[in-house]
Symmetry: C2
Subunit: 309 residues, 2 copies
């Protein structure tokens, strides 16, 4: 039953991360042609923002070493195709291929900044500053990812002012939007509301904020509901629940796009996504990866009982 949702947005933009955040954490080598077909199928399923790949050095993310080969195979699609750029060298590679949207990847905690970028938080911000400036000068849209906004495997709960400070720094340097990441999946809805309130009270507009939840403790959709109730309209999700966090083996994947779409459809919130096509895409990709999708909705819809229509 679709129930029009009072106090919730009429439309949510899903930022699909399966092809980048999902596949970069998969052990199975995926041929470039399969990645391209994945992105095409996601676009065909109605996703309007599909993060395509990453221009990080192949030494760090060998799974996405084919970014130069992949991007031209998908660049003609009529969807937004952001790509991750870790630094100016990555930006150069992305701009050379005609990318119109890029994303940088910052951390709210010193521990993860050190582990992921081998820098302090401020050193990482300093590294991103010319990346963002040059992207904006080229009229390229910039997303700023912020990891460990809620909990950190080394530091525990992350103080709100610490997250607010980095968010404001990313916006001040020119990021068009931010993605607040619960990288290890420990957040609960009250914490989400508290962070969004803290950001709002410090002048960060909710329109500039997306949320990126992991389902490690099963909290991703409840957290998403809390974020929607707070006015957030951009939600990151990964088709079929692909991906995870390489720094926390227990961290199961991103919120599955299908589980998100099931909830949003039920709430009468428009996403533009065809759930049947999307599920078929995730089943197809699961076959390529040789293991079933962790998405509960994918499993339910692809194992229909005979009496269920």
């Amino acid at each position: 039953m679709t129930v029009a949702a009072r106090g919730l947005p009429a439309r949510v933009r899903i930022h699909e991360v399966g092809a980048r955040d999902g596949l970069q954490n998969e052990k199975t080598a995926v041929p470039t042609s399969v990645k391209a077909e994945f992105v095409h199928r996601l676009a065909d399923a109605g996703l309007s923002t599909i993060e395509a790949t990453s221009f990080v050095h192949p030494k760090w993310v060998p799974q996405l070493a084919d970014a130069e080969q992949l991007f031209p195979l998908v660049a003609g699609l009529p969807v937004a195709l952001p790509v991750l750029v870790p630094n100016e060298r990555g930006l150069d590679r992305a701009l050379a291929l005609g990318a119109r949207r890029v994303a940088v990847f910052a951390s709210a905690t010193e521990s993860f900044a050190k582990a992921n970028l081998n820098r302090t938080v401020d050193e990482a911000l300093a590294m991103f500053e010319p990346v963002v400036a040059r992207a904006k000068a080229a009229d390229v849209h910039v997303r700023g990812y912020l990891s460990m906004c809620f909990g950190d495997p080394w530091e525990g709960a992350v103080p709100l002012p610490q997250v607010v400070r980095v968010c404001r720094a990313l916006l001040a340097m020119g990021c068009d939007e931010l993605s607040l990441g619960d990288t290890i999946g420990v957040a609960t809805p009250g914490h989400v509301t508290a962070l969004l309130s803290a950001l709002g009270s410090q002048g960060v507009p909710v329109d500039a904020l997306g949320v990126h939840f992991h389902d490690t403790y099963g909290q991703a959709l409840a957290n998403t509901l809390a974020a929607l109730q707070h006015g957030v309209t951009t939600v990151d999700a990964s088709a079929g629940g692909l991906g995870g966090c390489p720094y926390a083996r227990s961290a199961t994947g991103n919120l599955a796009t299908e589980d998100l779409v099931w909830m949003l459809q039920g709430l009468g919130i428009d996403t533009g996504v065809d759930l049947g096509r999307l599920t078929a895409t995730s089943v197809w990709m699961a076959d390529r990866l040789g293991r079933p999708s962790p998405s509960r909705t994918v499993r339910a819809l692809s194992h229909k009982d005979p009496q269920e229509q």
Copy 2:
């Protein structure tokens, strides 16, 4: 981070169904002694309401055919121990063992009443009437389960007035509390709010209502959050996510108690449950059943990374 939850209850009573609803859907034969230890461990973990077993005819639920042997092994525990009674014969058996809480199992839809009870909805209500009357005469607490409150595998979305009618009938015959079941797990938060609002507008007090969500489409915790926001303080859950619905193969288990407790702890809502002990219990039971727990929180907490505390 624990964030005090504005507009949410200070305390939630978890109605633990793993030993009954969970084990009745498991194919592995579980010895009575293991079931008894399971209930003891659940009580030791701080659960205050533990549905212990079912006095349905062994022909229908052979997994719980040992109810007469099991109940005396747990009856001394200082917790509420409801048992399922399908009819007067079942009530006789439960009362003979000294049960102080029973539960009947009604359906909101004709299709499921037919499939599960081989009766119409009204015939089933008529069957429960003397059960409830005799239980109340013996000062025994009665819970009324109501299946298929949101969607039905044969009928699709279930109209709200149909659910309201059966709820009111169960309360009118003397049930102390109801458990609103999303048996096939299709509900989304707006539907939950709509049903609770419809019940409230028809004079059903929210204090008499519990919710029973399945995670088939990953929606159980988001639906729980919506129910808490509406004032519900009784939530059914199954330790480790044990169980499912035998009439829908795709229907994965009940909401896992651990996933629920993780959210409630984060929201600063008291449950009395020790999550570490509960997780250890579910890991122990998963070993007995020979397969891993489907609970994401159980998996996360029992596969801690070395650097995580």
